[in-house]
């Protein structure tokens, strides 16, 4: 009995961790190119709305999911224009993107609040879902969760094994040297921003298309900010991001279950858990900061004069 509860909790942890995983991987990709994008929350919520609307109109959740990625890229391109072209402060620009994104999504989504759209449902994978314990936790999820399993590996492959990945990291590490080596620094940073934004949009769409199947205001609820924190926790490594995302997914799932179980604890205190945990996680990751892969030029703009 208890083991079943734990297994179902872990499965829920994977599910609630998935949107955070997408967003964290997106932010890792962007930060690797040297751009700090604090607008994750804004890109996510716009992606969530776009995915919802497109799925509703086309009837196809897959098209909605992809549209969410495109809209995520579009949202972060604003950050690109302000920081890459106009030399705006990256911290403030990201914040502005969050404010704008939340405003825009809640404004354009007003008419859809409470409505539902076709989304993704759990789909047990043959054979794999039969594995005891692990099968129930990892392989009785929906398609988007399975898709998210591949991305950390692909991202690691890109950064570690391809020429373009190496160049992108060089641009984030030491742009002056990258320029001297003949790399188009601005172009790589644009790629970092747009690809990162694509994944942030996908993370948002997971919330509206798989996690809830409906649209409400403030759907993201700070998950974008948790993703920014998880990048630090993950030491900028895609593989470690998986652990971080599922840890937070677990806390969120646990908190929901405690609330549903009619515990004596006030709900406002339970709701604090993920946010308090974020602070704790940052404090803990500061202890081993030496082993982190933080890009050297993170958040520093490139002088536009040639």
């Amino acid at each position: 009995m208890t083991t079943e509860i734990i297994i179902s909790l872990l499965a829920a942890a994977v599910q609630s961790g998935t949107p955070i995983l997408y967003a964290t991987l997106g932010e890792i990709f962007t930060e690797k190119s040297g751009v700090l994008n604090l607008g994750v929350e804004g890109a996510m919520i716009l992606g969530a709305l776009a995915g919802f609307m497109v799925a509703k109109f086309t009837g196809s959740p897959v098209i909605g999911f992809l549209a969410a990625g495109v809209v995520g890229s579009f949202a972060t391109s604003i950050h690109g224009v302000v920081c890459l072209w106009f030399q705006g402060n990256q911290v403030v620009s990201g914040l502005a993107l969050t404010i704008l994104g939340a405003g825009l999504a809640n404004y354009l989504g007003t008419a859809y609040v409470g409505l539902s759209a076709p989304g993704f449902n759990p789909l047990a994978l043959p054979v794999l879902s039969e594995i005891p314990v692990l099968g129930k936790i990892f392989f009785q999820q929906d398609l988007l969760v399975y898709f998210s399993y591949c991305i950390p590996f692909l991202m690691w492959l890109f950064f570690a094994k391809t020429r373009y990945g190496l160049s992108l990291r060089a641009v984030g590490e030491y742009p002056a040297a990258a320029t001297a080596a003949g790399l188009n620094v601005l172009l790589y940073r644009w790629v970092g921003i747009l690809v990162g934004g694509f994944f942030m949009g996908l993370g948002g769409a997971y919330l509206s298309l798989a996690y809830t199947h409906l649209w409400t205001t403030n759907l993201t609820g700070g998950r974008g900010w948790i993703a920014v924190a998880l990048v630090i926790f993950a030491f900028w490594r895609p593989g470690r991001a998986v652990f971080g995302a599922y840890l937070f997914g677990g806390v969120m799932a646990l908190q929901l279950r405690l609330q549903a179980s009619g515990t004596q604890l006030p709900s406002s205190l339970l709701l604090m858990l993920p946010y308090a945990l974020t602070v704790l996680v940052l404090v803990l990751s500061s202890w081993k900061k030496g082993s982190s892969d933080e890009p050297g030029a993170l958040g520093v703009n490139i002088e536009p004069v040639d």
């Binding site: 030399q87 404004y107 354009l108 924190a229 406002s268 604090m272 404090v283």
Partner: protein, 355 residues
């Protein structure tokens, strides 16, 4: 095809040019938001005129704008000194919440103290609570090198939920028919209104604190160190400025100012503690601080402008049923365009010479 290139200015852009860039940035963000009004089915010109009329078009509207500018100004003053030091305090919202909680605690515990004693005690408690909430991220930043942006932001959620916990639970007014609010403050705990206007005496707190801040930055050694350390941390350390302590002090000041704003909001505006005071003034304060280039006097002007937009958006909502989220769009666009316009402070765009 125009050939453009970016060139560095010999001298930073002067005051006139800066104002022109600012006006153009504001005009661009208004034009974009007008377009969004159009998308949402509202005639843009009518919408924007409703917005401005609602903000500054009548005495009542203007008073409401000034009233909302009070907490925004205090939070923004706090945000600005932290930003000067390049410490990214995004936590004004939470420091504001905790300040309101601190003031409420005093007001509910000692309702019979005379006003000349009770109000200063409430202010002290609000400033201490807000300052404490600012000190934690500063301490973690300096001792453990944690990222203050995320810590302050997460602490906003925690503070607001703590406020909720109090007003839904232990501090809830038993006679409020289930509404989450504390009992009303005693008269001694209320900052009153000036004459027959709706503006409260908090406006003088703003004037006083703003003046003090201006003097602090301009005339004191600490104020100078703050600017120097913000420009170059390594050089400041080398020059013997105690950087760690400076960061913590500035964050305490920053949090105390936001806490003071929370006190005014609870005491003067709603006369009690209730969740409805958390409407994002702490985030608007960031927009204001950046718009005003972290300068105390300009913060005064920018707070009234942004407060006016908030009042105007309320008017839009009432008259033309535009969703309240439109306010976020305006603030986001203004911040982005002003940020982009900052390029022209040190650079200019010129035609490429064709050889």
């Amino acid at each position: 095809m125009l050939h453009m290139r970016i060139a560095k200015r010999q001298e930073p852009l002067g005051l006139g040019g800066s104002c022109l860039v600012l006006v153009l940035a504001l005009a661009l963000s208004l034009a974009l938001s007008g377009f969004l009004l159009f998308l949402g089915g509202t005639p843009p010109v009518k919408g924007l005129s409703t917005l401005f009329h609602g903000a500054f078009g009548s005495r009542w509207a203007f008073e409401d704008s000034v009233l909302k500018a009070i907490p925004i100004f205090l939070c923004s003053l706090g945000v600005a000194i932290a930003f000067r030091l390049k410490v990214w305090n995004i936590g004004a919202e939470g420091q504001f919440a905790l300040g309101a909680v601190g003031a409420t605690w005093v007001a509910l515990s000692y309702p019979d103290w005379p006003a000349y004693f009770l109000l200063p005690a409430m202010i002290a408690m609000a400033a201490a609570a807000g300052g404490f909430w600012g000190l934690i991220p500063a301490f973690l930043r300096q001792k453990l090198r944690t990222n203050e942006i995320i810590v302050t932001l997460m602490m906003n959620y925690v503070a607001i939920l703590f406020l909720d916990y109090l007003v839904y639970g232990v501090w809830k007014d038993p006679t409020s028919f289930g509404f989450p609010m504390t009992p009303a403050f005693s008269d001694n705990a209320v900052v009153g209104k000036i004459g027959s206007s709706s503006i409260n005496w908090g406006i003088f707190h703003c004037l006083g604190l703003g003046f003090l801040m201006w003097g602090f930055l301009k005339f004191t050694r600490l104020g100078f160190e703050l600017k120097a350390a913000g420009d170059n941390v390594a050089a400041a350390r080398y020059a013997g400025i105690p950087y760690d302590r400076l960061v913590m002090l500035v964050m305490v000041m920053s949090g105390a100012l936001a806490g003071w704003a929370g006190f005014l909001e609870a005491s003067a505006t709603v006369n009690r503690l209730q969740p409805s005071i958390m409407v994002g003034y702490g985030y608007t304060a960031i927009v204001v601080a950046w718009l005003a280039r972290l300068n105390p006097l300009s913060i005064g002007i920018a707070s009234i402008l942004l407060a006016g937009l908030r009042v105007g958006v309320e008017n839009l909502q009432l008259d033309l049923q535009v969703p309240a989220a439109f306010g976020g769009i305006l603030e986001g666009l203004i911040l982005l365009t002003v940020l982009a316009g900052g390029l022209f402070t040190h650079y200019k765009i010129e035609r490429k010479r064709i050889r």
